[in-house]
Amino acid sequence: MRDAGITEQHKDILAELANIGTGNAATALSQMLDHEKILLEVPEVNISPLQHVPESLGDPGQKIAAIMMEAACDELELTILLALPLPATLSLIDQLLPEGLEPLGEMGRSLLMELGNILTGSYLNALSDMTGLTFTLSPPGLGLDMAGALLGSVIADKAMLEDSFILIKTTMHILSREVEGNLLLLPSAGSLHKILARLGAQ
């Protein structure tokens, strides 16, 4: 997305949307984890050149689980990633997967996909309440690999041609487990202005 036209006010609005969306996603996650406390960081809204997108989750060589989904409404298309560094991935599987199943076997991988579906669904439920828009959501895709390779693949798989991207990232900390995960949104080019206008931006 061309950064022209995205103002500080727009970034504030997007950060507020992300805050509300992630708030609801964190509530869902907390419910799944027997009401463990989850702390949310202030969302970061950045315009990143393509070259630096693979670093947007930190070290591009670190192993993460990324669950990718597409959300859309009439006005907006979003790629959403639930990105979990390996410690968070294993910790969540440890708590949520019945005993005796292999952590990263078929059922563990399916659990990660469903986690992506539930957190993103919850995020969209909040966005829908706030904006009056109705979103559809695609089934999840899962990748377990280097963060940079996964992020590059998202850009390539979606044939995103922009030279810079709006990245909306919120980090969630599961306090008692000392692990963290991220929800990362990439709106597709040109699709943000209508939603910003709807939310009263100039």
Partner: protein, 122 residues
């Protein structure tokens, strides 16, 4: 009277396993599992279950369209939606399509059994 039979439809194996465990612990018999809307329609026709749990976000055919098709085939089908997509418009769409209740993920196990008891009482 025998156990109530249930068809569980969800695209993720983990959610199907979770629902199956809850249902079987509570005296239901899960007689089929579908991974998408197309399988749901086929399995419904084949198995004629007393109850269906239906996801919305699935490949090939989504849950709301699958409900419409199942209701066309059997107006008396008893289907509850179990989905993370709790947006107001989608809940209304699902109920209009013929779903009897809507459980938003994540859920407490009791929420599923309560919903099934309520709808099967009619």
């Amino acid at each position: 009277m025998g156990k109530k039979t249930v068809l569980v439809v969800d695209d993720t194996a983990f959610m199907r396993m979770t629902l199956k465990n809850i249902l079987e612990k509570n005296g239901y018999s899960v007689i089929g599992e579908g991974e998408d809307g197309l399988q749901a329609i086929e399995l419904y026709k084949e198995l004629n279950p007393s109850l269906v749990t239906m996801d919305i976000t699935m490949p090939n055919l989504d849950g709301i369209k699958a409900i419409e098709e199942i209701i066309k085939h059997d107006a008396g089908a008893v289907i509850i939606v179990v989905s993370a997509m709790g947006q107001k418009a989608l809940v209304i769409d699902a109920l209009n399509a013929g779903a009897k209740d809507f459980v938003v993920k994540p859920f407490q196990p009791e929420r599923i059994t309560e919903a099934l008891q309520k709808v099967s009482r009619g």
